[in-house]
């Protein structure tokens, strides 16, 4: 039960962390932080504290999204602002304890930024290029709070939106979400409000609510980061959606490649249950709802909603024909609402601040913010949340800091295996669902991989088709055999066996696959080939006619066919 007492207690506890009497240390411990060595930093700092007999509190937070600075540590010393340190090693981490906590030297050489007004030699964290163009809504808590502690989420205004939603009618909430113009951030961009309305109107019970956290797109990891760093925001979004639609049971479908996300989500669910936010008669209302975690088992196609349903039901994850859409006949034939992690994480902010506030940002048809995982050949790699309509140039050059090592930018890949590669000419394209679709790519789940001049576009197309043909469920022929044929043609081209007619055959095959496949996997699988042919036709010609790979990537075409190891 979220009583005033609990909220007050959580807030005073949070107060004692942000304005502490003993030093507070925050270590970013999401998967990427741990892979970068956060665990050894944790041990080094702990032993340095014990050795110097310093009383301090260590918090394990999620990740701030600045993956290029991992491992990161934040320190709040009594009377001082929160300072973020970057790229620490166990040695520099223990130096930091002695230098800053004992001698008062805040080590500007190790610091990244300070939360608030700049100190001597340390800039304001939120004034950094990486942060200043961002508008964080769904990501506002990541790296700030401890994801395993519900009270920190509550202290930052958590579950207020849900309490507000419980006080209004279901129709009101659906109208609010519809008015906000929020579109599904899982890739397809279907208006969330319409989906909810369809499910709400279907008169069949029980209804199910599913959070799709099967983030299979290679090159995208914002869902993982959200689940690991702020699981309660997703739970709150689910609770609001379930209340609005009238669902009695929910599932979170997380892929099993994300063990830490599963663990943190399980802890979060336990805590919400403990505080009466899940279960029967939530917060003394008539609304009863419970959530269960379902692990995916390594199938990309299960991100498609009907395949996901089949997987939860205990079958092979194979998509089926739609309509009927899940909103009418989903899990076990009952109405089911399926939303992506990022969509749900936006819901509490819409309920708290109102539809107008949300609709005030973004473009005419794409409202709000977009979350991207900026990776590849770019200086500042990480998670960003930017308003819709921002240009690609701003993302790559201002936020991302451009292409490192003085290399030339060649293309940016968005939308994973369903998306496409956009060339330098389109750098000023505003990011929105429709503009990306017009350019031949898609918004997708939000992977944004920057490719430099050392990347061969034919090889990239081959890579995605290899992925698509491996992940095809094998149910419909265009996808199963078509992607395989396309992959083999591309493979031949990269091996120097390309024929003059290959590009035309690829275009023809793509056309049939796009038009006749059963599900989104097949319908979008040719996109990487179509966009690379559209924008980088010269590279295909060089491979086929001159038997040369301009980027020197394709092994068979460099060094006269000698494999360079």
């Amino acid at each position: 039960m979220i009583t005033a007492d609990f909220r007050a207690m959580a807030e005073s506890d949070w107060q004692s962390i942000t304005d502490p009497s003993i030093p507070q240390i925050f270590i970013g411990m999401a998967t990427c932080g741990e892979a970068a060595g956060a665990l050894s930093i944790y041990k080094a700092m702990e032993s340095a504290l014990i050795k110097n007999r310093i009383k301090a509190r260590i918090h394990k937070t999620g990740c701030l999204g600045m993956c290029y600075c991992e491992p990161m540590v934040d320190i709040i010393k009594p009377g001082q602002p929160r300072i973020t340190y970057k790229n620490l090693t166990p040695e520099t981490a223990s130096e930091l304890i002695t230098d800053y906590l004992i001698n008062g030297n805040y080590r500007p050489d190790l610091a990244l930024g300070v939360w608030g007004k700049e100190l001597d030699g340390i800039p304001n964290l939120f004034g950094l290029d990486f942060m200043k163009f961002q508008q964080r809504t769904a990501l506002k808590n990541i790296g700030v709070i401890n994801p395993e502690d519900i009270s920190q989420y509550v202290a930052c205004g958590g579950y207020k939106a849900f309490e507000k939603a419980l006080g209004t009618s279901q129709q009101n909430i659906i109208d609010e979400v519809e008015k906000s113009g929020l579109r599904g951030l899982g890739g397809a961009g279907f208006p969330t409000g319409l989906k909810w309305k369809a499910c709400y109107k279907t008169q069949s019970f029980p209804k199910y609510m599913i959070c799709n956290a099967d983030e299979g797109d290679p090159g995208a990891y914002m869902d993982r980061s959200l689940l690991e760093s702020d699981p309660h925001s997703v739970l709150e979004g689910m609770l609001i959606a379930a209340y609005a639609i009238g669902c009695s049971r929910g599932y979170i479908y997380i892929r099993d490649e994300y063990p830490l996300a599963i663990k943190r989500m399980a802890i979060a669910i336990d805590q919400t249950r403990q505080y009466g936010l899940l279960g029967d008669n939530i917060l003394d209302s008539d609304f009863s709802f419970d959530i269960e975690i379902r692990e995916g088992a390594g199938a990309f196609v299960c991100g498609e909603e009907s395949a996901l349903l089949a997987s939860i039901e205990g079958n092979r994850g194979m998509p089926r024909h739609r309509p009927p859409y899940p909103a009418e006949s989903g899990l076990w034939g009952k109405p089911t609402d399926i939303n992506n992690v990022k969509t749900l994480a936006n819901i509490p902010a819409i309920i708290t601040n109102g539809a107008e506030w949300f609709a005030g940002r973004g473009t005419e048809s794409s409202k709000g913010t977009a979350i991207f995982a900026l990776t590849g050949k770019v200086a500042n790699r990480g998670l960003i949340e930017v308003p819709m309509g921002i240009t690609i140039r701003r993302i790559i050059y201002d936020i991302g800091g451009g292409v490192p090592d003085g290399k030339k930018f060649k293309a940016v890949q968005t939308g994973g295996p369903s998306g496409g590669c956009l060339p330098a000419e389109l750098l000023d394209l505003p990011i929105a669902f429709d503009s990306l679709a017009a350019a031949g790519s898609i918004m997708g789940s939000g992977g944004m991989v920057v490719l430099d001049e050392d990347t061969c576009m034919v090889d990239v197309a081959r890579f995605f088709l290899d992925f698509a043909q491996q992940e095809s469920c094998g149910q419909c022929i265009p996808c199963r055999l078509g992607t395989k044929q396309m992959f083999e043609i591309l493979d031949d081209i990269t091996k120097g066996n390309g024929k003059q007619t290959d590009v035309d055959v690829l275009l023809e095959l793509s056309d049939s696959i796009v038009r006749t496949s059963l599900c989104g996997l097949g319908r979008t699988a040719p996109n990487p080939v179509l966009t690379t042919i559209r924008y980088f036709r010269n590279e295909y010609d060089a491979h086929i006619n001159d038997k040369k790979c301009p980027a020197n990537v394709c092994q068979a075409l460099v060094n006269g066919g000698q494999v360079d190891e």
Partner: protein, 241 residues
């Protein structure tokens, strides 16, 4: 693949022509109740085993199987060396789930996390419990990439083949690791030490290229780091050919 284990042998049809020796081999329990005496939780492992063998998971639950803490004392003390803990482990997982098809994938994943793969006999256990055909379970297990029907090596190495890893040199890394370990992708080394696989994306794209070893993630890998991480002795790959 054909794994013959004690569990499987029990499910074979009882043959009256069998000698006493064979019958004892199939059900070696002599009702000495030593397992009952050694169990910290006060369970009777041989009774639980009988429940599980008979597919009576409700009875196993009534007899308190969920309290079993996998200590293995019962098997260690058994005078007939019956691998009681094996039955208890399978039974404990199965009895947690309802007799419902929707429990299939969670059961398979949990059993796999205990054993590293899905032995043939376990699939028949699950089939009996969930009232599904063995064929259905095999079709599901072969569909999902995380589910294995063959045992992996002690170090399960997965190289990420996500987009960011691909352009940061994952294909080259895969070739080099194949050479280092002397096995191809998807294979297990002869000494059962390494299994090499690829994974779609582990979501650590900023640290590309990434590998995972037994579910631990390591970023910014190259040949030398892989060698260090996998503790590969010597330079056997330096030999030509």
């Amino acid at each position: 693949m054909n794994v013959i284990s004690p569990v499987l042998s029990f499910f074979k049809k009882r043959d009256d022509k069998k000698t006493d020796k064979e019958i004892v081999r199939e059900n070696p329990c002599i009702d000495c109740s030593i397992c009952l005496e050694v169990c910290d939780k006060g369970l009777w492992p041989s009774v639980l085993m009988a429940d599980i063998k008979a597919g009576q998971f409700e009875d196993a639950r009534k007899h308190g199987i969920d309290q079993c803490n996998d200590c293995g004392d019962c098997s260690a003390e058994c005078p007939m060396s019956i691998p009681l803990y094996k039955y208890l482990r399978v039974g404990k997982v199965l009895s947690q789930y309802n007799k419902d098809k929707s429990g299939l994938i969670p059961i398979l994943l949990e059993l796999q996390s205990n054993y590293g793969y899905l032995p043939e006999d376990m699939i028949s256990h699950i089939a009996r419990y969930l009232n599904l055909s063995v064929g259905h379970i095999r079709s599901v297990a072969s569909f999902y990439k995380s589910l294995r029907l063959t045992p992996p090596g002690r170090r399960h190495v997965c190289i990420c083949r996500g987009t960011a890893c691909h352009i940061s040199g994952a294909p080259k890394l895969t070739r080099e690791t194949e050479k280092l370990l002397g096995i191809k992708e998807g294979e297990t080394s002869a000494d059962n030490e390494y299994t090499l696989d690829t994974v779609a994306c582990v979501g650590c794209c900023a640290l590309a290229p990434v590998i995972t070893v037994n579910s631990e993630t390591y970023g910014k890998m190259d040949r030398e780091k892989i060698k260090k991480q996998l503790k590969i002795p010597g330079d056997k790959d330096e030999n030509p050919g």
